[in-house]
Symmetry: C2
Subunit: 518 residues, 2 copies
């Protein structure tokens, strides 16, 4: 075993998406005492770097392969020489291991882990094990606080220079939930500051960023956001490229294939904190089809949010909302933007209006406005909320004068009708999501569904249950086929067919819906 | 979103070590609806392959990057065209997710996972999450059985054509444990078949394969093993390249950085089963310095071994052995081979002889020999075990006439002496391992330690406590420095200095020894 080797650089013309990985041959690894996933220390003319070793059989033994990220960070060129030695394991890895064994982590341990995630000193395997352990063991309030603070500290933050800063967030899981597109203009119209960042859909048919993008650009820089908020009190932008809590983005990449979401609380609150929020309304949709299934779960989560908020200096109130069916009638980016605009203009489905008014009213009361709900109603009825929405659309670079019908939706449309009369006793939101995505949502912004029958409504034989919109005929056809197969809207006559949920040992399906959209 | 894209192949001149990974640009990924770690289906002139997508920003958008493994499997060339589409997630991933939520897996679920590990359809992130979940939730006996069977079914197996086939295994953790080098010739000398595969050191100063390699080649093919066993009844070979239970090798790669070992039972027994074993003696070293710390733990593990053995058709007996100090006196490949040979020749330390005789005796009684211990003693005392060892050495391609002193050990040597008189009340095997590795073991085969004082022995001022051997002066110097710093042998006068184990909140050290050698 040798303590150090001189190796020649082989520049690989590809990026890893961030990880600092170096490739060495198995012979070189053996000489240096390096095992797969050990760290190596690379010295190039005095510049030091830690990289994770990938051991490749047949890689030339006097060479070390660097991806673009490493090449750029070191400023090294093809064939140049670097000194390579085995590096000790990072302290953060021992803390990850401690978590695997169920130990509680101290604040500085958590900071070390988050920092090493952002600095790419921990591999995906180690991050996966950490998140799995968190998912199984759960997080203490102190760990949630430390994770939130560490994620804020390792990213960018905004300061709007004055308070209060209001914000609203849904833990998600309800298709058609375009509430933010109403709450932001209602709150901003009343003179309060509400800089809202949203996500794009990962597993759903539309995220708020996807919806708003049909009205105006959402990919704004931090300075552009400041300008829009200075002009209008609000904004509706995509938060993904702002590097607020970048550790969270890296965690989400690993959580996605695993279908776990252990960092829900710090993930949400770190981003609110980074945006400078002081008062946050959290929407917890609760129902068998939502992310949160039971009221007990919802109350626990709500009190966790409030506690963690207090520790982070955030004033938080949570609303448990009805989560057993989609919100409003439309699902899919453009269809939902139409519905949101219509509702701001005084029309729209009553459940959407009620939810937006309630959440905006809650925010108003949190900052001292009496009778917040009435204030929110007034903002819509007076046309002030609509005017504010148009101001925001204009400030973000969209057409202020847009009418709901101007927004292009899929030209391919089909109606799905009821085969018999009955009352709607159950809607499978999960199946509705699948059909909307099959039709092309969220990528094809005009694709989606419009529901004509919701819970408790009576339908006649041949009534339209829902319409499917698509931008291309092939997508429409496969969405329709799926709709026929799934029958997502269940009428009173059918429940007996659905009594058997699953069959053991022959499971009908292993697939469980996993929602990661925030 | 499009359902399919034609992409041009970019051949990357490196291997991933097996994983089937394809690199596409973020734009291509977005068009196909592919997220990082989603699977894509690649079609090349009718040949289908599933690969895990790595999304690289700035990668050329009409191209797809293949590592060598994928290039070879598809037989594709630079710039050729392949059809690429989003593939459904594998069924096995849903079972991995189920395990994250603590569900029990059925036999066919486990087979699906193991098969997809071997076929590289599961990513390292997913394997890491699976192993972490197993480590935290534990495995049911049925899961252990299914894992063992699945690992055997996905690898090669040996059939020696006659029974019984005896074997011996230690769960490990005791430096200097060269017992296998005695048990194999003792058992074979009595006419029983004992084809022993061993591992190389990962975290220890020597594995049995490293020790035997100082006497003869250990990297034999399956056919060579059959020849050696046909001639001599036994063998002492390296199991790493035989593709017995290859899934286990992939699991170990992920377990190593995480410091977890949830598959101890199926890992060991799948390899025994693949070797065709019928009767297995398992050594469970028990002590504060061993892998298994307490008797309670050891008894639980032992009964798990016996139960799992029954389910797999293996007759198993376990021995709980004293694990509070190294076995014998020498540590390091060549030094240990010397000691093993000396003990076979009738000399050597009494603890090593006692352990070998006891384990061999246990095996004898398992196959119906009465008074097995006496039989084992007789094999040594009559010189038959030594003769058998020489036969095996010869059959494997080594020098049959080798004498212990012929084996080259480090020419650099230093004695570490006691600073005062006293009785040895504690040996830190952990520190002894660190010193031996610092001296160059296991890579430098002549490096290691020879202990002159073991538990309960009285030493005088200036007595030699241990010798350090190294192949180079620089290694000797740094091993000596470490030895002075660690003082691994504690005498009666010193315990007060060690009363504080750790300090909270300022931990002295996070580092916990992790042993993965099998």
């Amino acid at each position: 075993m040798v303590s150090k080797l001189e190796l020649h650089v082989e520049v690989l013309m590809i990026t890893t998406g961030g990880s600092r990985i170096a490739i060495i041959s198995d012979e070189t690894a053996s000489l240096l005492g390096v095992h797969s996933s050990d760290r190596i220390n690379i010295n190039y003319g005095g510049k030091q770097m830690i990289a994770i070793a990938n051991i490749a059989p047949y890689f030339p033994k006097n060479r070390i392969g660097f991806y673009q990220e490493t090449v750029e960070a070191l400023g090294v060129k093809e064939d140049e020489t670097v000194d390579v030695r085995l590096a000790p394991l990072p302290e953060s890895l021992f803390n990850v291991r401690a978590k695997l064994h169920g130990e509680r982590l101290r604040e500085k341990d958590v900071f070390g882990i988050v920092n090493d995630v952002v600095e790419r000193h921990l591999s995906d395997v180690e991050i996966a094990a950490f998140l799995t352990a968190l998912s199984i063991h759960g997080l203490s309030t102190a760990e949630n606080e430390a994770l939130s603070r560490a994620m804020v500290a390792t990213g960018k933050t905004l300061d709007f220079g004055k308070g209060p800063i209001l914000d609203k967030h849904s833990v998600g899981g309800i298709p058609g939930d375009k509430t933010s597109m109403l709450v932001v203009p209602i709150v901003a119209a009343a003179g309060f500051t509400i800089p809202k960042t949203s996500s794009r859909a990962i597993t759903s048919p539309a995220g708020t960023a996807d919806r708003v993008e049909t009205l105006c650009p959402v990919n704004l820089s931090i300075n552009e956001i400041k300008d829009v908020v200075a002009k209008t009190n609000g904004c509706l932008v995509w938060g993904g490229a702002l590097e607020l809590a970048p550790a969270d983005d890296l965690f989400i990449q690993v959580e996605y294939p695993l279908g776990i979401d252990p960092m829900l609380l710090p993930s949400i609150l770190s981003k609110k904190k980074a945006m400078g929020a002081t008062h946050v309304a959290i929407d917890i949709p609760t129902g068998m089809a939502a992310k949160i299934k039971t009221r007990t779960e919802a109350y626990t989560l709500a009190s966790d949010f409030v506690d963690l908020g207090k520790r982070l200096g955030l004033n938080i109130q949570c609303a448990l909302t009805f989560g057993d069916q989609p919100l409003g009638c439309s699902i899919g980016p453009a269809l939902e933007a139409r519905e949101a605009l219509t509702t701001l203009m005084g029309g729209g489905p009553p459940d959407l209006r009620d939810k937006a008014v309630s959440l905006a009213g809650m925010l108003f009361e949190m900052v001292g406005v009496e009778n917040g709900g009435a204030k929110a109603e007034e903002m819509i009825d007076s046309g002030k909320a609509e005017a504010k929405m148009r101001e925001i659309i204009g400030a973000q670079g969209g057409n202020q004068k847009v009418k709901p019908d101007d927004l292009p939706v899929g030209t391919e449309m089909v109606e799905v009708r009821s085969e018999h009369a009955g009352k709607v006793i159950w809607l499978s939101t999960e199946d509705i999501v699948r059909i909307a995505r099959e039709a092309g949502a969220p990528r094809e912004k005009g694709a989606g569904l419009v529901l004509h029958a919701k819970l408790g409504e009576t339908v006649h034989k041949d009534s339209v249950l829902f319409e499917i919109y698509a931008e291309r005929g092939s997508k429409l056809a496969s969405a329709l086929e799926l709709a026929k197969q799934l029958s997502p809207i269940v009428l009173t006559k059918k429940p007996a067919e659905k009594m058997i949920l699953d069959q053991v040992p022959e499971k009908l399906s292993h697939e469980k819906t996993f929602m990661l959209d925030r």
